[in-house]
Amino acid sequence: MNQQKQAGTIKIQKENSMLKQKQMLAEHFMALSQVRETGKKVVYTFVPGNLTELIYTFDMLPVYPEINALQSGMRKKSHDYIREAEDLGYSEDVCSYVKCDIGMMLQGNIGPTGQKLPDPDILLLSYTGCFVFMKWFENLKQLYPNAEIAMLHIPYQEAGRIEPDAVNYIKKQLLSEVIPVFEKVSGTSFEEKVLAKKMDLSAQAEDLLIEVFDSAQQKPSPIDAYFGGVYYIGPIFTAFRGSESCVDYYRELVKDVDYRIQNKLGPLTPDGYLEQEQYRLVVEGPPNWTHFRNFWKIFYDQGAVFVGSSYTRVGGVYDDGFRHSPDDPLRSLAEYCLGCYTNRNLPQRIDLLERFIRRYHADGFLVNSIKSCNSFSAGQLVMMRDLEERLQIPVGFIETDLVDPRYYSYSNIKNRLDSFFQMLDQRHTVRVTDDWLSDDVLA
């Protein structure tokens, strides 16, 4: 049986990278709150296929509605917002991010720091890997009739590869739809070499990011690639890619991770370093945000560590060598968008998960199926069966939602996870002592 680890016995020391992240995010939201004074322009866009480098090339500031929504979920505001949207006629069936975001705007658009978020100057629809994004933006267009609109359609990798016509299509859209709008609103002309410089910085951050993810090959794993992944590995990546400070952040993070490796420490959880790694898991699907800490705790209390997750790849996949490149920056942006996790077909997604399971020596695979997100969820059951058959790995399946607290049932999840962990225990035990069962039972 598991040894219940004593959480919190080590005095929690915020690691340097965490402090830096906190400071960077505070500065970002400060900058957003001061746009009236500074005259900086604001671009609303989505995480998958985000054009952060291009936005910074024009010295504008990005705002990500999904991140607002997940922050609202973590701050327990999402239920109110969702209700507001449902009162307006949104069905209970549809994506809770959309409803949360729309509800938040209707209630004054107060951001995570308590300050009002500025209205968008540009709505940049990077329509990547999620059909709902398109509908979401059509709805936003109504709410912000004065914003300029740029739509970037990223075709799906339906055949499991990047088609040349898709790359050309995206490059043309960047040149004819996106960049002209950016130029018009920012009053700055596009300079490819400015973008190229940012692409170079992105590539540096990407190398470091992969170094962090790959540290999960260690036993014990010094990182949690799911909860930790979205908590202190991912956020900076989305909002600051292409900047010097982003590279600095990841250098700091690599140092912190190295420290954990040297001291045989597990990942940092809200209750301190995880002391005894019991299970190494790979997970498919986004986390739940409304009960983020409670959800995480179910795992770290049992010594379960996520050594790989697909969700941390929605903003880009760098595991197979892709890096933003200064050489032909627009082509590189196109390839980046095409390669995002939810823009890959099911067989590709399975291959990537298999790679995580093998590379990070996982002993279990879990699906957190999100009610809101058909892009992720439709097909997960087949993916799970396929991986189970392919790798003979124990699999688990739970259901939650992104930010609709009505779809988080603690006892339901706990019940399934207990069985899952105990199934993993049995596998462990059997592997260690094959004669676990006495013969008389088998007779």
Binding site: R385, Q422, R427
Partner: protein, 431 residues
């Protein structure tokens, strides 16, 4: 002696199984789950303990080779009387509670009337129930105190004045909960002796033989060497973490113990349906549970029974009388009622509707099986719903249709699989 206890606290019924050190089941107990989970678990355990004592008694007597006596028959009848005596004690307690409610809550002008009805019906109830127990008409493992009492009570009270009738029903509803949630300690030896008194045709010699052994058996401690709790409500048991185990693993182990060649287990319980794949050691290799929505589980059948105003036990046999299955689309409890009424309004026979409902449940369970990796030989069907003949029929039909001819195991006692598995795990831990 060393014994191991497994308790399965389900959403509808609570089960207990006691194993001896040779992995033989010596006792099982079952009761309905109620608000107080601890009481439910304790009653199930106590039942299992009494049942174990009967088993030990039986072993002793069988070993004595007493010639021509059919001990099986004697024990069966003894058991019926033993359970009747327990009923009688609970019944007295319930009547007291009902009288207390009358005293405290009923309009004084009506109190005398109701009390007179109570005194009139209580002997009727007692007589009827006694007769039913003695003749073996009450199933000890599926009809519990509340079922036995209410069915007789509702028939016995006068129904001509609706107002009075409703009041009488309301008094029962109020009284049953506190009574059910109170634990009564029964004295095993005294109760058995009393039960023997009720078997007048048993000759003195055999009576003495039993009484002699009874003392010996009662002296054997059945304090479990180890125990494990499982089931839907396991977290609510007052057990330490190491005495709690997931129901999936327990059901699989129980099914494996009963049917060692089992590779796939389907368990349909009150609130959960589980599809489990096991290896040759009874260890789980993969499992799937129903999603958030409990549609198609045992509760659904309970709801349908309520809608049709019949008992759950009657559903299966009724459905077996169908000519064909009505096409039921929804296993959602909310919609099923409406669908049922719509069919009834259209003049559809209730047997056909019920057959359609049963088939819909099984179809849903098969989707879960497909999710978990399909059905492999041998296929064991467990859980409370496995007692329903119509469900078993469709499980067989769908297995053949989708997976070919396989060995399908299903057993009346398969409701005890979870508790059995828990008991095995507790025994394994120490061996």
């Amino acid at each position: 002696m060393k014994v191991y206890l497994g308790i399965d606290l389900g959403s509808t019924t609570s089960k207990a199984v006691i194993l001896d050190e040779n992995d033989h089941i010596i006792g099982r107990g079952i009761t309905n789950t109620r608000a107080n989970y601890e009481v439910a678990a304790e009653i199930a355990r106590m039942e299992a303990e009494f049942n174990s004592k009967f088993t030990l008694l039986d072993r002793e007597l069988q070993s004595q080779e007493n010639g021509t006596v059919n001990w099986d028959d004697v024990f069966l009848r003894l058991n019926h009387r033993f359970h009747y005596l327990q009923f009688e004690i609970r019944f007295r307690q319930l009547m007291e509670e009902m009288n207390r409610i009358v005293e405290e809550e009923v309009d004084p002008s009506q109190q005398d009337l109701i009390r007179s009805i109570f005194s009139r019906v209580s002997s009727t109830i007692n007589d009827t129930v006694r007769e039913r127990y003695f003749s073996g008409k009450i199933s000890i493992s599926s009809e519990f105190f509340r079922d036995v009492f209410s069915s007789v009570y509702l028939d016995a009270i006068p129904s001509d004045d609706k107002d009075i009738y409703d009041r009488l029903v309301a008094i029962y509803d109020r009284a049953i909960t506190p009574v059910e949630n109170t634990l009564i300690s029964f004295q095993f030896v005294e109760l058995v002796a009393e039960a023997l008194e009720l078997m007048q045709d048993l000759d003195q010699l055999h009576r003495d033989t039993i009484l002699n052994q009874l003392e010996n058996v009662d002296a054997i401690s059945l304090e479990p060497t180890d125990y494990i709790g499982t089931g839907y409500g396991r977290q609510l048991l007052p057990f330490d973490e190491k005495h709690i185990k997931s129901e999936i693993l327990c059901h699989a182990m129980g099914a494996h113990h009963f049917f060692p060649k089992t590779r796939t287990v389907l368990d349909i319980g009150g609130q959960d349906t589980k599809a489990i794949q096991v290896d040759e050691h009874g260890l789980v290799t993969s499992f799937q549970m129903n999603d958030r929505c409990a549609a198609g589980c045992g509760r659904y059948l309970g709801y349908i029974a309520d809608e049709m105003n019949i008992s759950v036990g009657e559903l299966g046999p009724l459905a077996m009388g169908a000519e064909y299955e009505s096409n039921i689309c929804s296993t959602c409890t909310v919609f099923a009622g409406a669908e049922l009424r719509e069919y009834l309004n259209l003049g559809e026979k209730k047997e056909n509707i019920l057959a359609g409902l049963h088939k819909a449940i099984v179809q849903r369970a098969f989707a879960l099986l497909a999710r978990s990796g399909g059905v492999r030989n041998e296929f064991t069907f467990t859980g409370g719903v496995a007692r329903n003949v119509a469900v078993v029929k469709y499980v067989k039909a769908l297995t053949i249709a989708n997976y070919g001819e396989l060995t399908i195991n299903s057993h009346w006692d398969s409701i005890f699989m979870g508790a059995l598995g828990a008991a095995i795990f507790s025994a394994r831990r120490l061996s």
